[in-house]
Subunit: 415 residues, 2 copies
């Protein structure tokens, strides 16, 4: 079963927004066994919509469209689809009432423009959008197969997909499964990894596809199987990854979905251990990673973003004399930051970062990207320096990753 995803909107084509909808829809369709053949983004233009939808319906049994359903003049998806399907628009009483109530709750008047959002093509099945004012539409004709039109607002699209479209598709078609499983390796370059596992790769069953996904310090290996029995394929993939761990066991971090912060989260929670962080150059990025996960309050006690020298001294107890002698970006200061936040919070572990994120502040001795990291534990305090690139955003995200690595390596000793 093949699907095409079409996202409509000038804002996508000019790069004003990144299209995240199509990735989300892909995952949801893959989960019920539907393969995505192509994703296309086009402008809010009648001709582009007609040409692209016609072509997509020839190539795929299912076409999912998002965007262009707003109340303003630049949104033309609905009228164009009605025209393509030779259908008039009718006023849907129930949707109209829903829109009126939704706006009333927000204290917004119901205008002619809102009323127009309840107009739907006569030939479609209306998909109720409980979270917004633009209903979804489901067309199903022998010539074109299933064509679904959804609002472009990610939150509304997500709910419509989960609550309405996915269940309908699963019922409508007799689908087999797609299985993806991704193993995360670190500390080994893609080309070296490929050579080391070449024999294993060559011996994989025909129906399994291997992909390499490199990222800084990490290569992810994905095995995919299409149009299979889910339980069997999952077991077979598991078995292949087990063989792999005999070859490159030391480099394996875990499976995807198990990011380093997730693994730390799990291990701290299981052991009842606690964490605090003191950040300078990462500026709250480490704290954010943990606090974004539900249940973080079990182990995450506090973070201090000690940006100024005075805050390093006053909140964390870093000695000003050491800041002056060694500089704020130094092993000494990193150690005192980690020990300081560990002391004031009483946490088991404490991470600290201090570095030069740029674009200003670099010098010959300490160029942009110089980051000192420290980890204070119940036993000792460790520190290391890592150069983390030369772009501000990159320095922040790399330093965050390196600091998490330090903590993860330490926690591995416990298990």
């Amino acid at each position: 079963m093949r699907a095409t995803i079409i996202t409509i909107g000038d804002e996508i084509l000019i790069g004003q927004i990144v299209d995240t909808n199509s990735a989300s829809i892909s995952r949801k369709l893959n989960a019920i066994g539907i393969t995505i053949g192509e994703k296309i983004s086009i402008a809010d233009s009648r001709d582009a919509i007609v040409t692209t939808v016609e072509r997509a319906t020839k190539e795929s049994q299912v076409v999912i469209i998002t965007g262009g359903l707003g109340p303003t003049k630049d949104d033309i998806t609905k009228t164009t689809l009605a025209e393509m399907f030779g259908s008039k628009l009718r006023y849907d009483q129930a949707e109209g009432e829903h829109i009126r109530q939704l706006l009333a709750r927000r204290g917004i008047a119901f205008t002619e423009l809102n009323r127009s959002q309840a107009l739907v093509p006569e030939c479609c099945t209306v998909l109720h959008n409980a979270y917004g004012t633009a209903p979804g539409m489901w067309f199903d004709t022998p010539q074109r197969g299933v064509v679904v039109s959804l609002p472009g607002v990610p939150f509304e699209m997500e709910h419509l997909m989960d609550d309405v479209v996915v269940p309908r598709l699963a019922e409508h078609f007799d689908l087999r499964s797609i299985v993806h499983r991704t193993l995360i390796t670190r500390g080994i370059a893609e080309s070296i990894l490929a050579e080391r596992i070449a024999a294993w790769e060559d011996a994989l069953p025909e129906y399994m596809h291997l992909a390499y996904l490199p990222a800084p310090n990490i290569v992810r290996l994905r095995l995919s199987a299409y149009d299979v029995d889910k339980a069997e394929a999952t077991k077979a993939i598991e078995c292949e990854f087990n063989k792999l761990s005999a070859i490159i066991g030391d480099n394996i971090v875990g499976y995807e979905g198990e990011s380093i912060e997730h693994l730390i989260h799990q291990r701290l929670s299981e052991r009842g251990l606690t964490l605090a962080v003191a950040e300078s150059c990462t500026g709250g990025a480490i704290a954010s990673k943990f606090t974004a996960m539900a249940g973080a309050s079990q182990y995450f006690l506090a973070g201090v973003v000690s940006y100024s020298n005075e805050s390093k001294r006053d909140i964390l107890g870093v000695r000003m004399a050491d800041i002056e002698q060694y500089g704020a970006v130094s092993e000494e200061v990193a150690r005192q930051m980690a020990e300081g936040v560990r002391r004031i919070t009483g946490s088991d572990y404490a991470l600290a970062t201090t570095g030069i994120a740029g674009p200003g502040g670099g010098s010959e001795a300490k160029p942009i990207g110089t980051v000192w990291m420290a980890l204070a534990t119940p036993m000792a305090t460790y520190a290391q320096m890592r150069n983390s690139g030369n772009d501000r955003g990159q320095v922040i995200s790399r330093a965050t990753a390196y600091a998490l690595d330090m903590l993860y390596d330490e926690l591995k000793k416990l298990f």
Copy 2:
């Protein structure tokens, strides 16, 4: 001048990664006057690549392709393009040497797989990738126009686009300009806004296109003009937005690129005023927003992510009796957090948040999404409660936005 962007990779079609490359390429092409007709994502499949590239070259004068240039077996873009252009692969000595040196610096052995990355189609111009091991390729034939193939690693693609591809395109074609300018409004619903500015919209010059881009509490209005003289069109758009500010002046925040945090950043820097934050439910997200901006150290003194009750007491001086009486999510505690971090850092302004991000911790009286925010200023401390949704990520980002709003409204009084 029309371009098609093709991103290649199974990981895009299964939704394992979000394609950010195509948005970035769009912005860079728009900036030199090239319009994007379509963006397409396809699998690492020979047939898909051949069919899609052939179609794209018929519809556009420029085709930009990313992805599929890695050293492993799943990457087939290069061999497929060589086949399409009827060209053999040759070993490029200079690229080979560059790859060898790049790997040596990282302490990685130069293998047969790396050597294969220096193989390039005879008929293309090699685009040197200073930041990675996969060179870009520039094909230019009378039948197909310009076809450019770039690595999918965002960082490498960005540098190749900026340093090599964009200058070459600008030289190769005689291009006019595209101008986009986006005004941010807040506090007015899209449908109401559309009615209030209907007369202005109807009177816009033919060649200007208006788009509405709604987001929570915000509607962005974009005016675009294609194939124009840059200076003239910029002036004309400016003039239209000036007319608009006479109609909805109170709702206008500023132009895009001027996010609320940017405006706060500017105003604090200009006035030499300082800021500190104390975050509970936002968990470092507010600190991160400021510290991500170059120059934040001028005014951002410190942040405290006081997640545990003890850290609220020990670091910020919140009274434990008040936490017990009113709860950690309360006006009292928000006020004491803001005043506490202002006191210990000596900042002019201090923001605080405390709320229930979920999924646990909600109650009838204080459901998930309840967030108390406080702003301590040299004159007084203000507090407000805002319900910020029911999804953890949403609560964090909305509460962050609402807190920034409070500070921004306060700073407006100074100007």
